[in-house]
Symmetry: C2
Amino acid sequence: MSSAVTAKRSSSAQPPLIAVDAMGGDHAPREIVAGAVRAVREHGLRLVLVGRTSELAPLVAAERAARELPIVHAEEALAMHEGALAAWRRARSSVAVGCKLVRQGTAAALVSAGSTGGVVSTATVRLRTLSGVLRPALALVLPTSPRPTILLDAGANADAKPEMLVQFAYLGAAYARVGHGVAEPRVGILTIGSEPGKGNRLARRAAELLSAHAAEEPRLDFRGNIEGHDLLAGLVDVVVTDGFTGNVALKSVEGAVSFAFEELRAALTSSPLARFGTLFQRRALRGLRARFDSESYGGAVLLGLNGTVVIAHGASRAQGVAQACLLAHNLVAGRITDQVRRSVAGVSRSPSWLHRLNPSEE
Amino acid sequence: MSSAVTAKRSSSAQPPLIAVDAMGGDHAPREIVAGAVRAVREHGLRLVLVGRTSELAPLVAAERAARELPIVHAEEALAMHEGALAAWRRARSSVAVGCKLVRQGTAAALVSAGSTGGVVSTATVRLRTLSGVLRPALALVLPTSPRPTILLDAGANADAKPEMLVQFAYLGAAYARVGHGVAEPRVGILTIGSEPGKGNRLARRAAELLSAHAAEEPRLDFRGNIEGHDLLAGLVDVVVTDGFTGNVALKSVEGAVSFAFEELRAALTSSPLARFGTLFQRRALRGLRARFDSESYGGAVLLGLNGTVVIAHGASRAQGVAQACLLAHNLVAGRITDQVRRSVAGVSRSPSWLHRLNPSEE
């Protein structure tokens, strides 16, 4: 999933410009600048750094990249602990300035490794949702095989309504088409129990709406319930859920995988004999580690706004930042925003139809 | 956690009688009977099988266990796909008859490997909740170290209210005291984000109530937010959540751990050289597998009812059934129901105090 990814050529003469928030992330600005340089030189992307010029210019100069990496000044930065309120408090943050570049059409996308809450709220306020989209959703890619599974919402909306989950299905399907080349994405809903009618009120109602949509809309291939233990089974291309459940599930998966590998490491070094065995497994174990390395995924994508926003892991180093830039570039090249707009237009065209359904079963 | 567990001696002359639903589970009745025989012979427990005599008697006879394992006849059985409605439909199921034995005081606890939904609803209807308890919760033990973490609710209540999560804290703490010998259990709430005030409406309100309780109730040691990736970190002894989130999180952890081990197996057998290395690691890998084997945990405990109910994994074989019986025995020996009753009495004693809090922030 990682090293094999290359930059898609866009049809225009020069690649689209991507704005990079150079101030967000645990290792900003140094690793962000290093990642941007790598993205420009190794993948041929066109980037602009956003942040404090006084801090960024020396880093860019040290990389001898002043001509390749222009800087747009932003006086403030969001701190990593700043959440949703940051959007209002910090009007001149690097994230806010980056969004402005996108809104103006100067940049085609924004990449940030800043606090998820702060980036989501700033981007939502500054870029606004696409016409007809109730809320943006954060989409994350799970390392399933043979092809990846997109989970959304991964945390943008802690409290969601059933209609939002239906839209997430369309947002996620657009991402699967553009990002993973899946012609007819299969969609599931994260819930408990495998039979229809299982789950909490939100999931039951959303599943009902999704089934009704799928019956009339050939583009929506709704496959029903997905349980927690099947998240990594690759049964579907898109899993929809509310941001609270999605975030808990993703972090549970992340924690469990590290836990399992840590226990494994402990077991394989528990005796001199077992440790001796690992001498023959270096290449195999290195390959495994690389597959699960968060640096290779690029980051989460905020879907449903007037513009593309990629949120890299807060702990990203140069490699992770470069992958996030590449992801943003490829989504722009695939016209993700247009795809989402077209995808959701089909949903909001039938509001009267939605209202015919039983509005509540509480 | 598994083989080291032994049967606790109760103070009375003979061990308490445990009813075992012999008809529930993917491998019922054969593996259930085999597990019961093992529990009686290896751990000295006193059991009674509940189910169709015509099917059970020959199995018991084949084990030459007719004197040690009495049978109480139940005409019907819950099918594994039967959910909550089964409680009403099947009044004469083995689970219902087992509950009747507990309610009459003939048996001290019930063990079943039947469908979770069916057992939870049957037990709730037949045994009823303890005075003051809003809803029973399903508690599951996570294999954290140095000591285990109890997660509840693991799926009994898909839609919960904040006050229920407060009670779950007391139910879980009682389990940690009786089941794991923890004098002052630390309690956390599963949510998204580490700072107070993060999460969805339910989690935010429940965290607020828990903090307020902890300020006045020295027995409640509330440690605040736990995120998905810390579920296996052993930061607290009890994690409370609603049944939907809890079930998704547990199954996500389960799925991710199997996924990681499967990927590992694939990596370690990917080349002749790597496979050669495993010759030196047989003992270490076997130990690891045993630690994560669901058979060694005994099962989930339904807390808050007038009687103890242990729900073993549906796929349990003899070893898992024996562990579930042992868990039920030990909880009874530790007077879990009295502990829960006393624990929750403290909560329901202060309803006026609860009402002084801001009732809603929506």
